[in-house]
Symmetry: C2
Subunit: 494 residues, 2 copies
């Protein structure tokens, strides 16, 4: 294919559009067909497979000065890239917390990239799509209609924006102008010991310092101890510091626990603290009538960060931060009014509201896949899938509890199951080694991809289920494989 | 279409995969065909068009509880969204600095969203694609092979990461743990008055405060006055502050000026300061043998942030930050070694290097469009297009200089042209009003989309050319239209 070459004629100008649109169209059809065939047959393939050495080595190519054309590059993609992903497409992938994406989401990404609108704002339909999506997401979270929000890359950025707004709103001085440099009471933020690593990263990035993130103990169900929080805040105030924010978690990464969000909201009101909820995946429980009680109180948050590329089933990247007070949101990020200059007519007439709600000025059309997915599938169907994932997790927990060779290591309040293979007479250390090996073999054999975590010194095989392709039979296959491999590994050790 | 509904059979589980793959495939083909037809015929349509009121109002729909299916949503996209973007696809769009994207880039986004790999790292081919792309980008920038980097959303995030690494490397204390809170010498960062707004946003986000960003005057060519910088740093040191970073700009947003990067690199070496280059679009001049002298010295930077969705012609979002010292990069963001636990085998064997180079943990496969584009088109063809954009800008500048009704308002060292319609006897105030109106009418008539800026009190029509679809005839059409509308507006005023 000849895109990138000059058009015919000595003086002609070049372009990256195809020289032959029909030829490119045929290739694009092939890309779609191959892709859909892959997606429709995922179940027949391993959940993950290691790369052969020659494939691994092939990604050290010299700088491509001359073009080899789209056909050739696509062939290399099919041979060297597509067969060796980390596996989260697959019906038996439950590692970390990674969604699958959907065929509709994938086509929406193509449409978004083709239209390629600049999503700082502007007077354009794509901006209205994002406004609409944010209004729907606020409604689903039970937040008021005037709630502000913006779509971002992921949960870490969403919650970092929430924390940045909190810092600006509650610092007690002009933190944007003055920064945190200088001699003042130390700003402190609180979360439980189960708070995800984003909070440390955000505290560091924002210049608060990781030492300004106070981690409060949890109860036996991995939920923040609200009385311990109360004591910590009081002690810090007494020491002359300035507590400004509490982070509640809806769905911890380790076990799927949700803090008592109502209690945290009430505490924050009493204390004049900003209440941020990290609901990376757990916030989506609010979409389901049956599961909403688990996250009750989330609608009282000052800000909520959550992903749509996890339990919203959409392809990476898309997450959302919602901020109850739109003025607080804008005040933390908007720069000068000069951006709005000449704003009554023309392309810039819409202003650049989205650039004033976060870090990025240039933004892509992430909103399209959310809009298309919500409208095409409907909220009820997505909520039903979320419930299905919870039922599947509880089903796996039941199987684990009934099987004498398996041991449930944490409560299963949502969609995360932590368990291990066990046999009589072995101490934790030996069981940890066996279960680590089971996890690796599950992956290497391509049976399934759970990940691992350690709970109170016990290594757990961890299933985090945000997979719209999983069936009950897949969890049964996992449990069977854990027992089978556990016996093999255990016998070898014994 | 019936995706999202339960499969047949009372006890069956639901999925968001299509119930009928052939039906979905037919729709996907239609999406591709319509899209390519739109792209191939862009030139026949207006560069931008305002939305009718009924279209505008249509984006306030109730929450979609029930699904209407993919066909219906796609139809709405074609009717209500696709016709009304902000226009940056178009051959005569040169507003702000916004790229077009390419057909290959658009299909790469589809492939990336379908495979949907989790790009924190992991032992997978997509991670190797990103490593490969970063190595190529470092080579193109003239930086050493061990240079670290990561692909991010845009130039603001890329340069914010650069500044965060600088802060950590040069603070003189453990800024991650302690934060900036406390009584210490004030950390200061320097750039010219032409530095893009990202720097203020970054200084605010990082807790440095906008007052810690010192803006140094520029010369007549809009380049930083290095002697003034030297004096400012000396005065701040004498006042007990701690200068830690200088930002050089390759391609200012207003006029396309590039600071004397060699002089800045030398100054930073002398002073022990971190040297960051914001090369949002200008850094890409380094890809061209002919243009590289303009950005000479960029290869000496400690860190460089630049976009690939502007002058790299790729669809949003993709930008890159390169950091010369890989340990400094990792030290600023990596969390605990526990992430690498069990790292020798299985899916996590690759570690999560990309999550340790920036804020995001979950990351999408932005690298694929870069990899496919560089290999398919080749660096030389892309560099040739960059040169073509510069030639087109200089051609427009020549036309402006030859036309007595047009006035060039700034030098044209790269791809940005600032000019205005003029007529004898009118003061700046009147000309400013006329040129504002010309700009709006150009957009409203769909002739072209430049944007505006103000230089020394004079309102300029500003053309920033990163458009691979533009031809010389498009710039001639713009100049003709400016004169025509200028006469109309000027006559009405007079």
């Amino acid at each position: 294919m000849s895109e990138g070459r000059p058009r015919e004629g000595g003086d002609a100008e070049a372009t990256l559009d195809p020289a032959d649109w029909a030829e490119f169209r045929a290739l694009a059809h092939r890309m779609v067909d191959d892709t859909l065939e892959e997606l429709a047959s995922l179940r027949e393939r391993p959940a993950w497979q290691p790369m052969p050495d020659d494939v691994r080595a092939s990604f050290r190519e010299p700088l491509p000065l001359g073009g080899e054309g789209s056909e050739s590059v696509y062939r290399q993609f099919t041979e060297r890239v597509r067969p060796y992903p980390n596996g989260n497409l697959h019906p038996r992938f439950w590692g970390w917390v990674q969604g699958n994406g959907t065929p509709l989401g994938m086509m929406a990404e193509m449409l978004a990239a083709a239209l390629n609108p600049h999503m700082a704002g502007f007077d354009q339909a794509p901006a209205l799509v994002e406004h609409q999506v944010i209004a729907w997401l606020a409604e689903l979270m039970g937040m008021p209609p005037e709630t502000s929000g913006v779509l971002v890359t992921g949960g870490t950025m969403a919650s970092t924006i929430g924390l940045a707004v909190a810092r600006h709103a509650r610092a007690g001085f002009d933190v944007r102008a003055e920064g945190l440099q200088g001699s003042r009471p130390r700003l402190l933020v609180y979360g439980s010991t189960e708070t995800h690593g984003w909070a440390r990263k955000a505290a560091e990035l924002l210049g608060l310092g990781s030492s300004a993130l106070r981690l409060v103990p949890v109860d036996a169900e991995y939920r923040i101890d609200v009385e311990a929080l109360r004591r910590a805040v009081a002690a810090d105030r007494a020491a002359g510091h300035r507590p400004f924010c509490v982070i509640g978690t809806a769905g911890t990464v380790n076990t799927g626990a949700t803090d008592d969000l109502r209690a945290l909201a009430a505490f924050c009101r009493e204390e004049g603290l900003w209440f941020h909820v990290d609901g990376a995946f757990g916030a989506l429980a609010a979409w389901s009538d049956a599961l909403r009680p688990i996250v009750a109180g989330i609608e009282e948050a000052d800000s909520v960060g959550f992903d749509l590329h996890k339990w919203g089933y959409l392809p990476f990247e898309v997450a959302c931060v919602l901020v109850r007070d739109p003025e607080a949101h804008r005040a933390a990020f908007a720069t000068t009014a000069s951006y709005l200059e000449g704003a009554e007519r023309g392309v810039i007439a819409g202003g650049i509201p989205f650039a004033e709600r976060g870090l990025d000025l240039t933004r892509g059309f992430k909103a399209l896949k959310v809009w298309m997915s919500l409208k095409a599938h409907g909220v009820r169907a997505i909520a039903r899938l979320i419930e299905q994932n919870v039922e599947q997790a509880r089903g796996l927990a039941d199987r684990v509890e009934q099987d004498p060779e398996l041991d449930l290591l944490a409560p299963v309040p949502l969609n995360v199951v932590c368990f291990r293979y066990t046999r009589a007479g072995l101490a934790d250390e030996a069981l940890n080694a066996i279960n680590r090996e089971i996890l690796i073999r599950l992956q290497e054999e391509g049976v399934a991809v759970p990940s691992g975590t350690t709970l109170a010194g016990r290594y757990a095989i961890r299933v985090a289920n945000v997979n719209h392709r999983s069936r009950r039979e897949d969890f049964a296959a996992l449990a069977d494989a854990v027992v089978r491999i556990g016996r093999e590994v255990g016998d070898a050790v014994a």
